[in-house]
């Protein structure tokens, strides 16, 4: 059974609700695919407001736009250069929005807090929010009112959805994204693509040369591989790349492979160092500064993502070197194209990264990746002449992973709830700080208590993020060495998922041993 096939992720004693035709009929489910609905809605909004810029709210908004842009049947013709994520609007040049028509797009809205927070930020960026003629909000599906936070005007495709209908829409959107290739994942990551001409086992053997790897299957039976890199000598960053104080251990450091087509995988290197708050004089190398642009230097969030991008280039080196060991005849790497080149046609580009890295020089990044690929190939080929031992990883079935994913999610929610309760008890008021998640190190500790290996835990992150059960943030934390850092944190994705997990935990208890 594959991850996407599991019929009861929340416990094998529970039945599958009959999501058949009758319940669909009662809840007014339409036969039009959700992709078409969103496409129609967004196209109409673009036509209506003629925006110069689209601001997408958080991660799913970007993923949806990418799905629509890459839809072969009817691509949404909208350039990435005119899209920005709500997470990084403060990294933009001051005149970016000046005199521009802006469309804020979110796929779903329940309390409207995220959009409200975004609208609050805009005046400081030179946008006059009170002027109804230049900022417009478009939300695909809106929950029936749950609070008074929605104080702005908006257009919607679905409005006043009941909790059940709202949940259903959310599920349909997540399904759509999964079928488009787990796009939730790669909205902020670079990627290269590899076409295999050898057996999958040979490929896996190469990946396990100096790391542990887990294979699992996601929606549409896509094969996924999570390669986990230990904090050993072979997997350190280039000397001098990061200054003292940046934390490179106890953070997410891995490479994901997601099947895109038959025998073709997207290679997605990921490394999120935690950076000290208020870090200055970084990056020191002009070359890196030129690559990342001013945005990465403007604030802590920009520096965090900048560090992540540079660190991921190291991961790319390791993985391409490992791949080269199987010999050039057994695979081919297809590199991203530079869309600015006159004769650039076909293939794929990294233009979508502009949404999260507005000042990133995509051309330079593409050149870097190309150089890394060349260098890694030559080193890898040399290494390939000598035999190597593979790192043994425990074989884990999709069913085991799905069970462990839910156990881990339960623990994450429970620990966060304990902290919220404690916060409330201590301060005598509710916790209003957002985001409020756990760091990777804390989650790895929880996973270890479930007797899981690090590589398994790493794969569970991927599964939970792909399923839209877990959402990522950049958050200020007090690290265990007393330094205040910007770090990657994780929490269950919104109140709907959280309530579901709480109910499940109340009913079936925490995992064994807790």
């Amino acid at each position: 059974m594959k991850i996407g096939e599991r019929n009861n992720i929340f416990g094998n004693q529970l039945s599958v609700f009959p999501f058949g035709s009758l319940s669909d009929f009662h809840e007014g489910r339409t036969v039009v695919p959700i992709k078409r609905e969103i496409h129609t809605f967004l196209s109409r909004e673009i036509e209506k407001w003629k925006p110069d810029r689209i601001i997408v709210v958080e991660r799913k908004g970007t993923a949806i736009l990418r799905t629509l842009n890459e839809w072969e049947e009817d691509p949404l013709d909208w350039p990435w250069s005119k899209v920005i994520s709500s997470n990084v609007v403060e990294e933009l040049p001051n005149d970016y929005f000046k005199g521009k028509q802006i469309l804020v797009f979110d796929e779903m809205m329940r309390t409207g807090i995220h959009i409200r927070d975004l609208l609050k930020k805009l005046p400081a960026l030179g946008v006059e929010v009170s002027n109804a003629n230049n900022v417009h909000v478009a939300v695909f599906a809106v929950h029936e009112p749950v609070s008074s936070t929605v104080s702005f005007k908006y257009d919607s495709f679905y409005n006043y959805l009941t909790p059940t209908a709202y949940k259903r829409k959310r599920i349909e959107i997540v399904d759509m994204l999964q079928q488009s290739g787990s796009l939730m994942l790669d909205t902020e990551h670079m990627e290269v693509r590899v076409q295999l001409r050898c057996s999958f086992n040979e490929f896996l053997k190469a990946l396990r040369r100096r790391a542990k790897a887990i294979v699992f299957h996601s929606a549409d039976d896509r094969t996924n591989v999570t390669v986990f890199y230990e904090n050993d000598a072979a997997h350190q960053s280039e000397q001098g790349k990061f200054p003292k104080g940046i934390r490179l251990d106890n953070v997410v450091k891995k490479c994901r492979f997601v099947e895109r087509a038959s025998n073709e995988f997207a290679v997605i290197p990921i490394w999120y160092p935690s950076i000290p708050k208020g870090l200055t004089n970084w990056p020191s190398e002009e070359e890196m500064t030129a690559l990342l642009g001013d945005g990465a230097l403007k604030n802590d969030c920009g520096r965090f993502y900048g560090a992540a991008l540079l660190a991921a280039l190291d991961v790319l080196k390791w993985v391409l070197k490992d791949l080269a060991v199987i010999g050039c005849d057994n695979y081919s790497i297809s590199l991203p194209r530079d869309t600015n080149e006159a004769n650039a046609v076909g293939g794929y580009s990294l233009d979508h990264l502009q949404v999260m890295y507005p000042t990133l020089d995509i051309k330079k990044l593409t050149q870097y990746i190309s150089k890394i690929e060349k260098d890694s190939r030559s080193v890898g080929v040399r290494l390939g002449r000598s035999s190597f031992e593979v790192t043994e990883s425990r074989f884990v079935t999709d069913e085991e992973l799905q069970r462990d994913a839910i156990s881990l999610l339960q623990l994450i929610r429970h620990v966060l709830d304990q902290r919220i309760e404690r916060y409330h008890e201590y301060w005598r008021r509710s916790l209003e700080h957002h985001p409020f998640g756990l760091t990777a190190a804390e989650i790895f500790e929880l996973g270890a208590r479930l007797n899981l290996e690090d590589v398994q835990i790493s794969a569970l992150f991927d599964i939970l993020i792909d399923e839209a059960f877990l959402v990522t943030h950049v958050q200020t934390i007090n690290d265990d060495d007393g330094v205040c850092r910007m770090a990657r944190t994780f929490e269950p994705d919104g109140e709907i998922v959280s309530e579901m997990i709480r109910k499940y935990t109340d009913q079936w208890g925490l995992p064994y041993g807790f």
Binding site: I3, G4, E5, R6, N7, N8, I9, F10, G11, N12, Q13, L14, S15, V16, F17, F19, K167, R170, I171, V174, D175, Q178, A219, D220, D221, K277, Q402, H414, D417, Q418, R419, E421, R422, Y423, E425, Y426, W427, R429, H433, E467, A468, F469, Q475, T476, I477, N478, D480, G482, C484, E499, M500, K503, Y504, D506, Q507, W508, G509, L510, Y512, G513
Partner: protein, 421 residues
């Protein structure tokens, strides 16, 4: 091949489910244990403030804190056996299904509550509230009569008041009949065994079993008490400096100090006694195994460097905060410095004597043992020398807490610039 998200299928399962069944059975099993305890006429360690006249006929009520600890302890043992035996339960795709009583030699459901750190220790709660709050609301709505929850007359609608008592809501004349429907063979075995053991425990022993489980949680709980008392230090320092009353602050601080001392030192004896009674009376091998797995021995909990290191400051803080609170009382009640006419005055006279003795025992010097020597004549003003000593000790305590509870501080975002008030 299926392409839909697992999310689609998991949500509705939780919307329906059998939560109500589990909840009702949990209440029923707790009512069974409480009934056994309340009607037991044999010898056991009494609770100092519950006298025979509090018994209604043959029924002894259990204070709410102790009742919650009984529920917490029971849920711990129950969950452990559930985890051990749930693999034996057949898988059936029906949300209302509970495995057949005859075939299931298993605990078929966990107690649907989770453990949370609350003001003075761990309590069990679920989305809708703490167990006693849920039971009280059901009682008020006249839905469930398994318990009779009685808040004190001065706080009639607050089941969380520590003076609230819980007694059984109905008599169980035949325990065998009571458990014969809806509980599996193993569940009956566990409940009968727990009933036989628990009824021999005094309230303080039940409380100790619920409060303590292992070394790590005990340390975590003691740190929490210290951190919670810390927030009253600055307000008291300011009030001492400007000669203002600080009765409420010193009361809160004293209650946290008392809890820290109980958890680091005092509870050990009750815990040891409780474990001994439990292990002597226990007949079921499953309960025995679960008990040993959940409840570490007193040596494993308290004979530990970290806890030993916490015990000494706990004693000092208990002495200091008792002294401070008595001073705050006599500051506001000048005439009672020489009189013990009222019950409250008697209480504070005791507190004063105990605290003075404890302060001496801890080697804290420079604190007068006569209350009249604390104040400038018959005024509210505390003598500067005494005030300086109090401030010095409070500041030292503040530094000690900051240094020794770093992990707990991080979890509360205490020094994180993005958080905290």
């Amino acid at each position: 091949m299926v392409s839909e998200s697992s999310y689609r299928q998991s949500l509705p399962m939780l919307q329906d489910g059998r939560l109500g069944v589990q909840l009702e059975r949990t209440f029923r099993l707790l009512a069974f244990l409480l009934h056994g305890w309340s009607t037991f006429t044999g010898r056991r360690k009494p609770l100092y403030n519950i006298t025979k006249k509090d018994r209604k006929g043959n029924v002894e009520p259990l204070p709410v804190i102790h009742f919650e600890k009984l529920a917490l302890f029971t849920s711990r043992i129950w969950k452990n056996i559930y985890d051990m035996t749930k693999g034996d339960i057949p898988i059936v795709n029906d949300p209302t299904y509970l495995p057949d009583i005859q075939t299931a030699e298993a605990v078929r459901f966990p107690i649907p509550f989770q453990e949370f750190q609350a003001k003075h220790g761990r309590r069990i709660k679920r989305i809708t509230g703490y167990i006693v709050e849920i039971l009280y609301s059901l009682q008020k709505a006249q839905i469930i009569y398994y318990f009779n929850i009685k808040p004190p007359a001065r706080d009639t609608d607050n089941p969380n008041n520590y003076e609230t008592t819980v007694s059984p809501g109905f008599p169980i004349t035949n325990p065998k009949d009571y458990l014969s429907t809806d509980f599996s063979g193993l569940e009956v075995e566990i409940l009968t065994d727990l009933d036989n053991c628990v009824k021999r425990l005094g309230p303080s022993q039940i409380r100790a079993l619920g409060t303590h489980e292992n070394r790590d949680k005990t340390i975590e709980d003691i740190h929490k008490e210290f951190l919670d008392m810390d927030r009253y230090i600055q307000p008291i320092l300011v009030k001492l400096y400007i000669n203002e009353g600080f009765f409420d602050d010193s009361y809160e601080m004293m209650t946290y100090a008392d809890e820290a001392w109980r958890k680091s030192t005092y509870n050990r004896q009750d815990y040891e006694e409780a474990c001994e009674i439990m292990l002597t009376e226990m007949k079921s091998a499953k309960v025995n195994e679960a008990f040993k797995s959940c409840q570490r021995t007193s040596a494993e909990i308290w004979e530990d460097e970290t806890i030993t290191a916490l015990a000494e400051p706990s004693k000092r803080v208990k002495a200091l905060t008792g002294y401070l609170h008595a001073v705050s009382y006599y500051r506001d009640h000048i005439s009672e410095r020489s009189s013990e006419k009222f019950t409250t005055a008697k209480y504070f006279a005791h507190l004063w004597d105990d605290s003075v003795a404890a302060i001496k025992k801890c080697g804290l010097l420079g604190f007068p043992s006569d209350i009249h020597d604390v104040f400038v004549g018959k005024t509210e003003k505390i003598k500067s020398g005494v005030c300086d000593r109090l401030c010095f000790e409070l500041e030292s305590l503040n530094l000690w807490i900051k240094e020794n509870t770093k992990h707990a501080q991080r979890e509360l975002c205490l020094s994180q610039d993005a958080s905290g008030p």
